[in-house]
């Protein structure tokens, strides 16, 4: 291997926390102008490895070479000075400042008098965006922009500091498909300019679309580093999960849908705000309905209306054939509807509270003994939920924030299933969850439907939608444009075309 081509080399990195080894003798290198995918299940050590490169942590053993020179990266500033830029998964901009102010935060251009020259900052931000060939208004306040623009701002910020290597952690997690495509094109252009990208993603199609090489970590060790042309998707999944889980994303025909009975949920001519327009559909017991559509197509908004968060302007909702007023989440819960929200950390969990308290939160009404809560009953109930949903937790007293993303999601689902809802709405149920847990969650959804519940699944990941849905509603601009039985959908491409409205 020609060493001079490597912008970054990490040799035999080991790292432990409190005596628990997280990285064991991991070597990793990035060539100039390549996209290097980094994959691995939750807890495989990806983020620890990247945090060492970013200067957040220091390695216990091993060395880092940048441009062939050994460097000590002891802080984020050291990493930046060495040309390492990062695009964070959880965005790290200041929402109340403008795009240009964020790009040049702490390195603002100063005028002769020593005051900040915001006009120069705007001008330079424009130049950077022009180089990136994207259109962003540097004067716009970040809080008013969509996530796609946040990301572009972060990339511009890194480029303004002459980053040679960009670390992108699940960059498409919150992007719609066309925004992702724009990002991929940007990555291609950055590559041509000789900028290297470390691309962390769970999404196989993206890895194949973008990456030149892939490194897979498992349990803190490097499993392989190889050119993508020499690796099959099966190998990657196998590498991540550690066992072959063939067909887990495949659709399994289920015959539990009660076709003859009355629908559990009927929606007629529903209008709400600008994002839900004249939506009608019916949902039967035992049925899993997939909602497909681009970001902004009204999927989440429809779910919010059905759960009583947003008011409907017109139209009606019938549950078990009865017209139901859904003016508040409490009314929706009483009517047997549960929503598992998109952003579990912000909307689904109280992170600092224990697993048990989170599980019992929607159930407090059932746990009353006189004016007090029946804690023995609560313990029993939460333990049974933890067991039933196989949540991996050391003790129910532990705060939820200590769990992995997948296990947090299981807690959210278990929490709502404790209320025994008939209609369950899941918004992006597997976002940011590793493949092993993903298939467990999909199995969970299937079991629920088999037990006679009606399920609505919203997902941007088509393979996942196709794996569970009996029927797919395609939304565009707030309206249902297609209602397709699963058996009519040949493959992902068919569904993508339907979503694009072609």
């Amino acid at each position: 291997m020609n060493t001079s081509d490597n912008v970054v080399e990490m040799h035999s990195i080991s790292k432990g926390f409190n005596g628990v080894s997280v990285l064991k003798d991991v070597s990793f290198d990035v060539r100039k102008g390549e996209v290097h995918a980094l994959a691995g299940g939750n807890g495989a050590g990806k983020s620890t490895l990247m945090k060492i490169l970013q200067g957040v942590y220091q390695a216990d053993e091993g060395e880092i070479l940048i441009g062939g020179q050994p460097v000590a990266i002891k802080s984020i500033q050291d990493a930046k000075a060495a040309g390492i830029g990062m695009v964070f998964q959880e965005f790290s901009l200041v929402p109340s400042l403008t795009v240009a102010q964020n790009i040049f935060l702490a390195s603002e251009p100063l005028s002769a008098g020593g005051l900040i020259d915001d006009r120069a900052a705007v001008r330079r931000a424009k130049e950077i965006f022009a180089d990136m060939e994207v259109n962003v208004d540097p004067r716009a306040e970040v809080s008013r922009l969509g996530t796609a623009y946040w990301q572009l701002t972060e990339i511009a910020k890194a480029l303004s500091q002459d980053a040679q290597v960009l670390i992108m952690d699940e960059p498409t997690a919150s992007l719609a498909r066309h925004e992702s495509e724009a990002l991929f094109e940007l990555i291609d252009r950055l590559k041509q300019r000789g900028i290297s990208i470390i691309y962390i993603s769970h999404r196989m199609d993206e890895v194949y679309r973008l990456a030149d090489r892939i490194t897979i970590l498992r349990d803190g060790r490097r499993l392989l580093t190889d050119a993508l042309t020499d690796v099959t998707p099966g190998q990657i999944v196998e590498g991540i999960v550690g066992k072959k889980i063939e067909g887990q994303m495949a659709y399994r025909a289920r015959d539990h849908v009660a076709h003859d009975g009355p629908p559990l949920l009927e929606v007629h001519g529903l209008n709400a705000g600008r994002r839900v327009r004249d939506v009608s559909f019916a949902l039967r017991p035992g049925e899993i309905l997939g909602l497909a559509g681009l970001m902004g197509s009204g999927r989440t908004e429809l779910a919010r209306v059905l759960f009583g968060i947003d008011r409907l302007d017109s139209g009606e909702v019938l549950i078990r054939g009865k017209k139901t007023n859904l003016a508040s989440p409490q009314q929706a819960i009483d009517a047997g509807v549960a929503l598992i929200p998109e952003d579990r950390r912000a909307q689904g969990l109280i992170l600092d509270h224990s697993v048990r308290d989170n599980l019992l939160l929607p159930l407090l009404g059932q746990l009353r003994r006189g004016p007090l809560l029946d804690s023995a009953k609560g313990k029993e109930l939460s333990s049974s939920l933890i067991k039933k949903f196989a949540v991996k937790v050391a003790h129910p007293h532990r705060p939820v924030r200590l769990l992995s993303g997948g296990n947090q999601q299981k807690v959210v689902i278990a929490k709502w299933l404790g209320t025994d809802p008939d209609i369950l709405i899941l918004d992006e149920p597997t976002a940011g969850v590793d493949i092993g847990t993903k298939s467990e969650i999909l199995d969970m959804i299937r079991e629920l439907a088999n037990a006679g519940k009606a399920v609505i699944v919203i997902s941007s990941e088509y393979p996942e939608l196709l794996a569970v849905s009996d029927r797919v509603l395609v939304l565009k601009d707030g309206t249902v444009i297609r209602d397709i039985p699963r058996s009519d959908i040949a493959d992902e491409e068919y569904l993508q075309l339907a979503v694009q409205g072609v």
Binding site: V94, A106, R144
Partner: protein
């Protein structure tokens, strides 16, 4: 790059007309100016016979607002940084008595230095406890409120400390600088420096960044602990100057000076559009927030309300204004 091919993200296929621009304007941040004008016109019409609009009365409003304005400028930094300082009122009281006592013992310069030292010490202690020990500023400064007022009462045995030094009284509040009342000059200096530093210096930008998203600021290389320390120090120093303005205007130092001013100062900052959640601050808005409070006080006195009624109306107006200006 020409203006036409820069697409601002909220711009859709529809062309950008005045209506959409108006809709995008974050009017909550500017509601103070509207509120100020509305209240001003209201009193101007209602109280036209009571001399509300007389130049003397208007100057009075400025004069009476000066101490609050000075404290509120410091408070703007603290709140924009997502912290709070409840000790400013009692720091002003302590500063007034320390200044008065040092003046009578050692003269003008030591008197001024003693007042500033109060702000320096209290501000540093507040800042150190918040940034180094990570104690919430609400609790630290609540404790300091009690300590400062207690010390001021203790060292004076609750007695007022008269100030007979005319130079001091003239400089700090009683006199005029040329044709302009000194108190107005002091407010103007604080507002001008405060506005420029917050908007146009790296320090000010880092205060906003720390308040807006501390993690992001930290990752960008900003020493957010130092910023938190500095904003509380600034607030303490501003409060000690406000205390000297009390001392000069009332020609005495007394532990009660400034009592309860922390609430007016916080109200002025919030009314002025600074976000209680940090990340956005406007010193000019704060000035108008303070003036609005002064305006309301003055109007209510002229309208003949007694002080208990004034408090009720003032409280209601502040809640209403903040409700209008709140985050969505």
């Amino acid at each position: 790059m020409s203006k036409s091919n820069t697409i601002s993200p909220r711009e859709t296929a529809a062309s950008r007309n005045f209506g959409t621009m108006l809709k995008e304007l974050d009017w909550r941040r500017y509601v103070i100016y509207l509120g100020f004008v509305v209240v001003f016109l209201f009193f101007a019409i209602l109280l036209r016979d009571q001399g509300f609009l007389s130049p003397n009365n208007l100057l009075n409003i400025f004069r009476q607002t000066a101490t609050i304005t000075v404290m509120a400028v410091g408070m703007t930094y603290v709140i924009a940084c997502a912290e709070i300082d409840l000790s400013v009122g009692s720091v002003a009281g302590l500063s007034s008595v320390c200044t008065a006592m040092a003046l009578s013992q050692w003269g003008l310069v030591p008197g001024i230095l003693a007042g500033l030292a109060v702000g320096l010490v209290v501000g540093s202690v507040n800042g150190a406890l918040v940034s180094l020990l990570g104690i919430p500023s609400f609790l630290v400064t609540l404790g300091m409120l009690g300590i400062a007022v207690g010390v001021a009462q203790w060292i004076t045995a609750s007695a007022p400390q008269p100030i007979l030094n005319d130079t001091f009284n003239m400089l700090f509040g009683s006199g005029n600088f040329g044709p302009v009342p000194g108190l107005i000059v002091w407010s103007a200096i604080f507002v001008a420096i405060g506005a420029v530093v917050l908007n146009r210096t790296r320090f000010g930008r880092q205060v906003l960044a720390t308040g807006g998203n501390r993690n992001a600021a930290e990752f960008t290389g900003i020493n957010t602990k130092r910023i938190k320390f500095q904003v509380l120090l600034i607030s303490g120093m501003a409060a000690s100057v406000a205390g000297m303005l009390y001392a000069g205007r009332l020609q005495s130092g007394r532990f009660q000076w400034g009592a309860g001013d922390e609430l007016s100062a916080i109200a002025a900052v919030i009314l002025g559009g600074t976000s209680l959640f940090g990340g956005f601050g406007s010193v000019i808005g704060t000035l108008f927030g303070a003036l609005l409070i002064g305006l309301i006080n003055n109007g209510l006195i002229l309208a003949g309300l007694d002080s208990s009624q004034q408090q009720v109306v003032r409280g209601a107006i502040i809640i209403l204004a903040v409700a209008l200006a709140r985050k969505k």
